[in-house]
Amino acid sequence: MGDLATYAFTGIGLVFFAAGSAGLLRFPDVFSRLHALTKADNLGLGFIALGTSFQAGSWRDVALLALIWGLMLLAAATVSQLIARDALRERDGE
């Protein structure tokens, strides 16, 4: 049962990572690429954390997985704001 959940969730996570990369490569401008990157990749990371947690031997490792995902979400939220603002300025400056 646990193994089945791991297969399913990590597989879904991989799809989101592929989608994020496709968006980063194919979307036409910097702001839409930012959407692809921060949303798809961090959703994918959440699924991979969820899938991996079914293999964890202790609740400590599950908590650690959750903490890591939380920190990555915080980082992504901050980074996308800051990069978007900078891209706006770079565009307006030129």
Binding site: L67, L71, L74, A77, T78, Q81, L82
Partner: protein
């Protein structure tokens, strides 16, 4: 499938390394360098060297990237030529790099085949005072290397501070930082440090039994201080601050004191006798972590300079 994983990882590392060196443009090279550090730390985990992976993640992918970005920003602001002229490779630099690569390759092949440290280390480990073999080697069996490394770090910071101009000497370190009150960067600077301090202390603490230790934990603590400083939440100290100077030297000092204690107890300089080894290593780790955190953060922040005076 694990073979495919290793092959993919190796291919990516080589490709990213080539992209760093061959690509034109300093900014692109820096971004590739950050990615390179990241991939290396994954590779170290795959090789089972979690201690090295932690250091690479913190220093290679983390602080060094920020240092380079700050440097390229400064070059742009001072109007210096950051980009080499297109189409002309710098011949002396290329020759020097090729020479260094050749010398390293020769040294690699001239060295005897490395032996696995298995049996000797396993026999000596019970006397080390810690359970993590890497910590045992770094702080007990080969303490000389670690002591000198911590002093090198200090020397690097002194060298950096020598770049400060006389009239700036009494100013605060680095550039004045300002952010929009209540903005994204300020909120990030408030949210990250509590978790970061906890993780930093955790990494120092577990170093005795599991991968971790003073360098890894100290680097995380340095990053936390850096985030708080960049977000404008704390003001950077001055070169003349006595408390900060004390924090910079406490690591090497405690290390030396432990070494002298070893000599006084008859075991020899920097050899920790078994009864005190555990406690001594713990004390050295805590002191070293403080020094490394302060020194690395100061290295990234840079010498004192007044921003409004270009």
């Amino acid at each position: 499938m694990t073979l495919a994983l290793d092959a993919t990882l190796c291919g990516l590392i080589v490709a990213v390394a080539l992209a760093t060196v061959l690509g034109r443009g300093v900014f692109r090279a820096i971004v590739f360098f950050i990615v390179y550090g990241l991939l290396l730390s994954v590779a170290w985990v795959r090789l089972g060297a979690v201690d090295v992976a932690l250091a690479e993640a913190a220093i290679g992918a983390g602080l060094t990237g920020v240092l380079f970005l700050a440097a390229v920003g400064k070059l742009a602001r001072t109007g210096a030529e950051a980009e080499p002229a297109p189409g002309r490779p710098h011949l002396p630099a290329a020759l020097a790099c090729a020479g260094l690569t050749g010398a390293l390759a020769w040294a690699w092949f001239a060295l005897p085949e490395p032996e696995r440290p298995g049996s000797d280390l396993a026999a000596a480990l019970p006397r080390a005072g810690v359970e993590n073999p890497v910590t045992a080697v770094l702080l007990n069996f080969r303490a000389w290397d670690t002591l000198l490394e911590s002093i090198v770090l200090l020397a690097a910071l002194v060298g950096l501070w020598l770049l400060a101009r006389d009239e700036d000497w009494h100013d605060r370190l680095g550039l004045p930082q300002h952010v929009r009150p209540g903005g994204v960067m300020e909120s990030f600077g408030r949210l990250l440090p509590p978790v970061g301090v906890l993780v930093g202390i955790y990494l120092v603490y577990i170093g005795a039994d599991r991968p971790g230790g003073a360098f890894q934990g100290g680097t995380v603590l340095a990053a936390v201080g850096l985030v708080a400083a960049l977000a404008g939440l704390i003001r950077t100290p001055r070169v003349t601050g006595h408390l900060w100077r004390a924090a910079m030297v406490v690591g090497p000092l405690v290390f030396l004191a432990a070494g002298v204690a070893g000599a006084a107890l008859g075991a020899g300089f920097l050899t920790l006798p078994e009864p005190i080894a555990g406690g001594a290593i713990f004390a050295i780790e805590i002191a070293l972590a403080s020094s490394i955190a302060v020194t690395l953060a100061f290295l990234v922040i840079g010498p004192p300079e007044r921003g409004h005076r270009r």
